[in-house]
Each structure stands twice: as structure tokens, then as C-alpha cells.
Amino acid sequence: MSNVNGLTNILVVGIGGQGVMTASEVLSMAAIKLGMDVKKTEVAGMAQRGGVVTSHVRFGPKVLSPAIPKGEADLIVGFEPAEAMRWCDHLKDGGIAMVNRFRIKPPVVNVGLFDYPEDPIQSIRDQGVEVYDFDAGALAQEFGEMRLVNTIMMGAISDHLPFEAEVLKDIIVERFRQKKPELADLNDRAFEAGRMAAAQSAKKAAE
């Protein structure tokens, strides 16, 4: 999936508080483990929750500029469908979008100043993008822990990376073993659930 300069560019997008930065952190650690050069950068608005957050992860032989240029992302990990839609023009031709279908409406939509797009997933597809979508929010709720959205999304993209899914999983599970051991197994299962959901979404698209 890499580009001319041998780089893999992953854009993780979502909303403050969803764990976007943690996701890009574990992706970076996986790349480091494989001996690659890595840069990771965020654009988060003001410190408060609820604003747009994008995190760029670039890895390969040598990374220069930290931000992924428009039209060069291999993969967009959308933690929220409208956010995936907002950033899908950053994908290169043939890029992939992995999208959590769980919608989060901001107050400006709530008070009626703006409309939420009717079908963001379809709008992305209409751009010719290969989209995988499932409700990671609902999955996380089944596990009883909204914060698992992050691990579920990592599971979902794990079969679309230039390295083995297990590399990413080991890093996530190991992080929890060190910091919160009681959550390690739960994250392992959430990762696999995300992986399965992405595979099913692929199957559905093929039908």
C-alpha cells in the first residue's frame, strides 16, 4: 500500500475525546517495532472536547514532513462518519476508508444551524473510495465500554496494513497489560471483534 517514497500514510479522524491520538500512537509503535522511521502529528482544535481531531501517521524508510499531503493517504480511519466524509479528499486514488457508522452530532447541528449529511458513507463511496463500514459504537456498547471504539477500529484496519495484524494487536494488548492489566483480555476481544466486523463489511460489499 505504500507510495513512491516508500511511505505508508494513515489518517485517523474523529472528535476530541474519542481516542484518535491513542490510535495513532499504537500505529506508530507498531511501525517502530518493525524498524521503520515514523512521524505522527495532530491537528486538534482548542483543548476542549467535541472539536475535530485529526492525527496523521506516516511511516517508512525516512519520513520528512509530518502531515500527510492531500491526496496521499493510503487509509482513513474514521471514528465518526461525517468526519470520514470531511477528510476523504485526503485519500489517494485507490485509498481505503474504514468508518465507524456511529454518528455524533455537534451542538451546531442540534440547534438546527446545520444539517447532518443524509448518508455520509454513501457520499464517500460516491467519490470512488473503497469503504468498509460498521457500527463500532454499538459493538463497544455490547462490550459495555464506549472507550473500546478505539481498539475495535484498530482491529478493523489490522488486515489492511503493510504488516501482520498480530503486530498491532500485541502492542495494544501489551500496553494494557502494563497499565491496566484487567482490561487486556477485553481489548484483545474487542480487537478481534473489529477485525471480524471489517471482514463482514467487505463480504457485504462483495455481494
Binding site: 502529528t41 482548542m46 514532513s65 455537534p106 442540534n110 440547534v111 438546527g112 449529511p117
Partner: protein
């Protein structure tokens, strides 16, 4: 403890520029490190506080933090101070004199520019301070350089006898990349340098020191042309050569991998001779800098023919794409215009948090805004200028709410002069620069109603401790400034000092209405913590039960846990159209703060476990 604190020499880590810089400062043997928080610089001190053998502290503002560092340097320690770009405006009084006095132990000031304004009130270019203050500036382009330049800066500070500025931008501070670290070197403490002719800035001493500063300028000008931090990189495509610094260097290298590049790590004073030499070998010279055309102007003055902001954007962040188009055009290549393929999606501006203690003051202010003027300040509560409250008339800089409010009462027109003026200010901001303005109101017998929103945190920058929280940067207990006593001591009538729980909104509203009627200044102080700190405690969440009339009143609190389920337009008998918005509460997010309950006429906001049967 953060793993990096224990990292061994030669080990490699994924570090942000701020983390890397902190590591470098610690390794340089610094004893005293100070800062006032400010995006994107905040994490530097947060990280330094984790290391042993160093005194790290939050100061009340940037001027104070720099002066503390200066004091430590005068008595012979290495000292460090960090701030965001606008912080230097506050600290500049100290900086502009200390540049004459110079240093004893090394003194380094890290300044982080918010290029692109992700979280600031302006976009100023801190490289000007180097020119204004005759000070050397180092500009790292990534984390590894931030780490190395931190150490180097202390050596340079002692070599040239002056403070050194490390100029960072958001794309250094908040980018993580791989850094190889070393270990802390013990610093041979210099002891107090007893020399009043150096440290006592009276005109006679300062006059002599001007000559010293002039000599230092000459030495620096010679040094930058030999210094290894400024170097040319060869390239086979000599149609253009770039002069650049900081992260712009990385963008240039990515956009034009084959072009010759002159990289400045030590960018003030400019290494003019070296750049002139570089310019000889390229057809066209282009200066790529963030953000003002500063290097460009100085090089033109030195007689070089070049391009810069005449072809590149004058504000905001650069990137490989931003640079590529204009440069290719200059080279006469056919450049496809960038077509905008972005899809139209609603904006998602940052909002206050669910249950933020600032929601209720702004709910009240939004209801009386047509009868009062409201001067705002800087913090999370600046968001009160936006939807749904629209309850601020001004915001300029930290502390300006109270002083501007006084000016607004004094300068008001005839028809306006009876309008009460309210100043809204946070606890951290009040201690930073709000106290003196309040004293000014009192001394000049003005009348301003101050709303001091005390959430026991520096919320905007991530909830840091400050002199009013009762804890220090390490989380250890510290004396806690008592706002009531402070404002009483400087002259506020005790009857006009009102403590209020913001979640008791009707009381809050009543107090505001009472205080704006007074003909002397008042201070209303809220007392509930920022919800993102561990001082906040959740209660049982709420839900909307049957009977919501769609009045939409609860939405005016701005709490993001309240969500519209559907809208309707109701036509009254009179023919008047009324917009209805029916809501639900996202119980998983709701903290049960109860604020919205008092906004609901039909009383249909109830605890999640509420059942009609139980209520009967």
C-alpha cells in the same frame, strides 16, 4: 512515571518535540524550570516536572516565570523557561532588560508559536524577539533537534553570555518522532556572581552594557557563519535553492528532494555570508519561512535577489503541497490547479464539555445580553461567544476583561452609559493578570460586575494546577489563594462578594441580576470544578420522560448531552409559526449535574431510574 524519565543513554523513543526538549533541558543539568501553561508549549514543563533533581514550577504568569528563571541564573544555576508566543508579550519587560545584563548560569527561553492559530488569539512570529532583543535564536525542525538544541542552547548561552531563545512551532511541539537520548550531566554550579554593575539596571550601568551587547552582536554574527547548525545540502537540480528553517525545512525536502537547501538551525542573527555563498550556485533563491517575511527582508537588505512571500502564503502553516505549486510555476512548469474535491460537511467547532460549570453562567448571560455589555477573557469560557450563548462582546488578551470593562463604562455614549458592564474571567486568568485590573477598577471608583469563574483548574490548556487550586505542578499540596479574601483585601465591599454554585442556576441568575444593579463593583465567584479534572464527581444521569413540549429551552444551556430527536414547525391560531425541537438526553454522557432541570417548564427531565409509578 513516564518511561522516558528512566530512559538510558543511546536508547530511542517516540517523543513529541515538547517531550524531547524537556529531556534535553534535564540532561543539560538545569536546576530550575518555570512556565505558565499555553498551547502548544504546555507539555514541556509537564514533562520536566517528572524528572528528579530539577525544580519545576507553574508560575502565575509568563513575566513572573521568566523572572524566576533569571534569578536562578544570576545565582549560578542553569535555568529554563517555556511559554507560548503571546506569553513573550507579557514577559518582554524582563526579557528586554535581561538581554543587556546577560547571564551567569545558562538561561534558555523556549517559545512556541501557534502557526495556523489552532488555539490562540493571534499568529505572531517570535523570531522578531531575536532582532528586538539582540538574542540568538535556535530553530529545531523535529524532536531529535529539539532535544539536541536544548542542550546546545545552554552551552551557547554561557559562551555568549546572554539568554538564548529556542523557537518552536506547533509542528515541532506536537509532532512525535524517534529520538535518541543521552544522560543527565552534572552541572558545575557557578555560584552567585557578585557584580552590581552587571545586575543593577540603572542607566549608567545599562549604558555601559550597551557596548557589551554590541560586541556580542559582532561575535554572534561571526559565529553563525561558522556554526555547524547552519549548513548547505547539495542537490543536483540547481534551478532553485532554498533557504529555510524549522519544520519548513522538512516540507521543502519533501517537495523538492533534488534541490540544494540551506538549513538554518541557528537563525538569528542570520548567517548572511554563508547564505550568499550558497546563493552563488543556484539559479533562483527562495526563502521558505513561517510566518512573516523576515529572513527574506533581511537578505534583500543584504543585497540578495530572491523570492519569498511574493509567491508563498503570508500566513498559516506551510506544507509540501503549499510550497510545490508556486515554486513550479516560478520555474515555468505547467502546474495543474488544485481542484477542491472536499465534500461539504457542517463545521464542528469546539464546545464546552457536558456539564461544564461555565454553562450556567452563560445561560444566564445569554438571557440578559440585550441589557448589558459583556467583556470576555481567555479560557474555555471564551467559547461563550459562540452558539448557543453568543454572550461575549469582546476578548483581547489575558486579564483584559476587567480593565476593558472599566474602559467601557467610562467611554460609553450618552444612551449607553447606564448599561451595566460585566467582565467574565477564569480563575487561572484572574491570577495571571486579572488582579491588577480589578485594583484599577477599585482605585478609580469604577463600577464593573466581575464574574470570576473558578473551576479550580487551567481548563483550556488541559487542567493544570495554579496558585488557586491548592496543588503544585507535581500534584503536591500547596497554599491555595483565597479569592474572597484577595478581592476583599484590595477593596471590594464584602457584601458585594458572592460565592455561588453554578449548578443552582436560579440562584446564579438572581445574584447576577442583583449585582448588576449595584453602584459599586461586585465579584461573583463560582465554585464548581472543571469536569475533566478528578475533582469533579458524577451523579446519577438524567433522561427526558414523556411530555417534552419541544420548547427547546434546555438546549440554550449548551450542554452537548442534550440532543434533538426531531423538529416541527407549529402554526399557532394567530398564524405565527413556532419552531419546535424535541430532545433526549444522552444518558451515557450526562453527569447528572441537574443544570438543565431548572430550564424545563413541563418538568420532564428526570433521573434515569425515574418511573411514573414510583413518583405517584
Amino acid at each position: 512515571m513516564n518511561a522516558i524519565v528512566k530512559a538510558h543513554a543511546q536508547s530511542k523513543h517516540l517523543l513529541s518535540g515538547n517531550e524531547a526538549l524537556a529531556r534535553g533541558v534535564w540532561e543539560a543539568g538545569v536546576n530550575v524550570a518555570t512556565a505558565y501553561p499555553g498551547t502548544p508549549s504546555t507539555e514541556i514543563l509537564e514533562n520536566l516536572a517528572l524528572y528528579p533533581d530539577i525544580h519545576a514550577q507553574w508560575s502565575v504568569n509568563e513575566k513572573v516565570s521568566l523572572e524566576v528563571a533569571i534569578g536562578a541564573c544570576v545565582v549560578g544555576s542553569r535555568a529554563f523557561c517555556a511559554m507560548k508566543h503571546v506569553g513573550v508579550n507579557v514577559a518582554s519587560d524582563a526579557l528586554m532588560s535581561q538581554t543587556l545584563a546577560g547571564v551567569n548560569g545558562g538561561l534558555v527561553l523556549a517559545v512556541a508559536d501557534d502557526v495556523g492559530l489552532s488555539s490562540s488569539q493571534n499568529e505572531q512570529d517570535s523570531r522578531f524577539w531575536g532582532r528586538f532583543g539582540h538574542l540568538p535564536i535556535l530553530e529545531p525542525c523535529d524532536s531529535q533537534e529539539a532535544y539536541e538544541m536544548a542542550i546546545r542552547a545552554f552551552d551557547l548561552s554561557e559562551q555568549f553570555g546572554c539568554p538564548v531563545i529556542i523557537r518552536l512551532t506547533t509542528r515541532v511541539c506536537h509532532v512525535k518522532s524517534i529520538v535518541e537520548v543521552g544522560e543527565r550531566k552534572a552541572y558545575a554550579h557557578k555560584g552567585f556572581l557578585n557584580d552590581p554593575s552587571k545586575w543593577v539596571m540603572v542607566p549608567s550601568n545599562a549604558k555601559n552594557l550597551l557596548a557589551t551587547q554590541g560586541k556580542r552582536d559582532d561575535l554572534l554574527k561571526a559565529y553563525v557563519n561558522e556554526c555547524d547548525l547552519n549548513f548547505a545540502e547539495e542537490g543536483k537540480d540547481k534551478r532553485v535553492g532554498f533557504v529555510t528553517s524549522g519544520p519548513a525545512y522538512l516540507h521543502v525536502k519533501e517537495a523538492f528532494p533534488d534541490a540544494p537547501v540551506f538549513k538554518m538551525g541557528f537563525s538569528c542573527p542570520l548567517p548572511i555570508a554563508k547564505i550568499k555563498n550558497f546563493a552563488k550556485d543556484v539559479d533562483k533563491l527562495i526563502v521558505v519561512e513561517e510566518t512573516e517575511p523576515l529572513v527574506e527582508t533581511e537578505l534583500r537588505a543584504a543585497g540578495l535577489d530572491l523570492y519569498g512571500k511574493d509567491i508563498l502564503p503570508k500566513t498559516g502553516e506551510l506544507s509540501p503541497l503549499v510550497i510545490k505549486g508556486p515554486v513550479l510555476k516560478l520555474l515555468g512548469e505547467v502546474v495543474e490547479d488544485q481542484v477542491d474535491t472536499s465534500l461539504d460537511v457542517f463545521p464542528r467547532p469546539p464546545t464546552m464539555c457536558v456539564a461544564c460549570p461555565h454553562l450556567s453562567p452563560y445561560y444566564c448571560l445569554s438571557k440578559i445580553h440585550n441589557k448589558v455589555r459583556i467583556a470576555g477573557d481567555i479560557g474555555c469560557y471564551t467559547l461563550g461567544a459562540g452558539h448557543p450563548w453568543k454572550a461575549l462582546d469582546t476578548t483581547t488578551c489575558m486579564g483584559a476583561s476587567i480593565s476593558m470593562a472599566l474602559g467601557m463604562t467610562l467611554g460609553a455614549s450618552e444612551d449607553d452609559k447606564d448599561k451595566p458592564v460585566i467582565a467574565v474571567i477564569g480563575d487561572s486568568t484572574f491570577l495571571h493578570m486579572g488582579l491588577q485590573p480589578l485594583l484599577d477598577v477599585i482605585y478609580n471608583q469604577g463600577n464593573v460586575t466581575v464574574m470570576l469563574l473558578d473551576n479550580r483548574a487551567t481548563g483550556m490548556t488541559g487542567g493544570q494546577e495554579h496558585a488557586g487550586t491548592g496543588f503544585d505542578i507535581n500534584g503536591k499540596e500547596a497554599p491555595r489563594a483565597n479569592f474572597e479574601k484577595i478581592v476583599e483585601a484590595i477593596g471590594i465591599n464584602p457584601d458585594r462578594i458572592r460565592r455561588v454554585n453554578p449548578y443552582e442556576m436560579p440562584t446564579m441568575f438572581k445574584i447576577i441580576k442583583e449585582e448588576i444593579k449595584q453602584n459599586e463593583p461586585s465579584v461573583i465567584i463560582t465554585n464548581q470544578p472543571c469536569v475533566l479534572t478528578d475533582r469533579f464527581h458524577k451523579h446519577e444521569p438524567l433522561k427526558v420522560v414523556d411530555g417534552c413540549t419541544g420548547c427547546g429551552n434546555c438546549l440554550s444551556t449548551g450542554c452537548p448531552a442534550i440532543i434533538v430527536t426531531h423538529r416541527e414547525t407549529e402554526v399557532r391560531k394567530s398564524g405565527k409559526e413556532i419552531e419546535k425541537a424535541y430532545v433526549e438526553i444522552e444518558s451515557a454522557a450526562c453527569t447528572g449535574c441537574n443544570l438543565c432541570v431548572s430550564t424545563c417548564g413541563p418538568d420532564v427531565i428526570k433521573p434515569v431510574n425515574f418511573t411514573k409509578e414510583a413518583a405517584q
